[in-house]
Symmetry: C2
Subunit: 207 residues, 2 copies
DNA sequence: GCATAAGCGGAACGAATCATTCCGGTCCAG
DNA sequence: CTGGACCGGAATGATTCGTTCCGCTTATGC
């Protein structure tokens, strides 16, 4: 018997426990101390340092996971045949996954790896495709731009109340408002859309 | 001659300089040290401590000023005869004044005074009036609620790029989207609107 | 003129706060 | 039986900040 109730299994379980604990803690307070994560996970500090060389490593991992999750969702949206449904479904899923709160608040606390930069480039491509299909469906307001998406998600991530479930519901509420605003056959939007540089600066690596 | 170039005048000028410096610094980083404010203002730390007993006092003052500014804008909106224009103009002005970024991020770092709580109550009343008039104009989407306003403003305040002017333009852009979404004759909004308690918890005083 | 003190710059101090290391322990694999 | 993987948590050392303090400058009141 290789697995079952051994020290190894316990350790493997801790891997997950620590990661979700870290997610929860840093979601609530991006500047939280490492000790808070350990406490939340119900493990000692050593269990953390055995897995990650330092805090920055953990943060990087957390963000990279979020980025990958984002890309998964974006890829899933490609499967939806209706371009507009793909677009709105994509936004809703990303908001639900709460991927943005983390990446947004943790930005600048670590230097992105080349891998992350690559994944970030990939999300750009994926989102561009989703927006293009939405535009092609004829329901997307003219003037809406690929680079608007990140900011829209950021706006939703800003919605917050102490209760997590309620937060999700409220975010959906305002996302609905925004989506309707993006679908409106209304006039032109004020100001130029964000440049790519304005949308992606978080993932840019220091030279 | 009582005023002109005396020590008194210089001091009075510092009052303003310090306040705007503090606003700028804490807007950029809510956890900024007091020394950063002094540096930005081009004065010594003593100049700060001569005016405010401690950091919390300064933060309170800053927030209270913001709250008062908010109420001024709300009162000004009452002068606009068209209910819908009053509503949209009010939102635009508040977003431009950038009143929310401060109050939102600084919440919890100090305990509100009774005066602030009173002003907060007053803004509730003012906003309720504005929303009521918007509803009466027939252009406000059914289901939109008074307590939605704070969250909408919070969402806009989350929009941020390094350049301040560009930030203002982008915020206006997404506010336009949201306003169109709030005007849409579209279907009902998902989930119940925020309860008053969810909208006002920042200004509640600890018992 | 001159003593007084308001107003101020900035160094010094002391309390926290953290990331990280280290020192035993525990308990499976071989 | 035993070496080592795994872990809890105290100890450490650096850093960050709020606040205080000291000495200087210069209006101002007499």
């Amino acid at each position: 018997m290789t697995a079952l109730s051994g020290r190894r299994v316990q350790a493997a379980r801790n891997d997950g426990v620590i990661l979700t604990a870290a997610r929860e803690v840093f979601l609530a307070d991006p500047k939280a101390p490492i000790a808070a994560v350990a406490e939340r996970a119900g493990v000692g500090i050593s269990a953390l340092y055995r897995r990650y060389a330092n805090k920055e490593d953990l943060l990087r991992r957390l963000c990279h996971d979020g980025l990958r999750r984002f890309n998964e969702i974006a890829e899933a949206a490609a499967a939806e045949p209706d371009g507009w449904a793909a677009f709105t479904g994509f936004l809703a899923d990303v908001v639900d996954a709460d991927v943005h709160s983390l990446t947004v608040h943790l930005a600048g606390t670590f230097t992105p790896t080349e891998d992350m930069a690559a994944d970030a480039r990939r999300s750009g491509v994926l989102v561009a495709g989703i927006v293009e299909r939405a535009r092609h469906s004829g329901r997307l307001r003219p003037g809406a731009d690929v680079n608007d998406i990140g900011f829209v998600l950021e706006a939703c991530a800003a919605i917050r109340v102490p209760d997590a479930d309620r937060t999700r519901v409220l975010r959906r509420r305002y996302l609905a408002v925004i989506v309707d605003g993006l679908a409106a056959p209304a006039g032109t939007l004020p100001g130029p859309p964000p440049a790519e540089a304005e949308a992606n600066w978080r993932w840019r690596r220091p030279r």
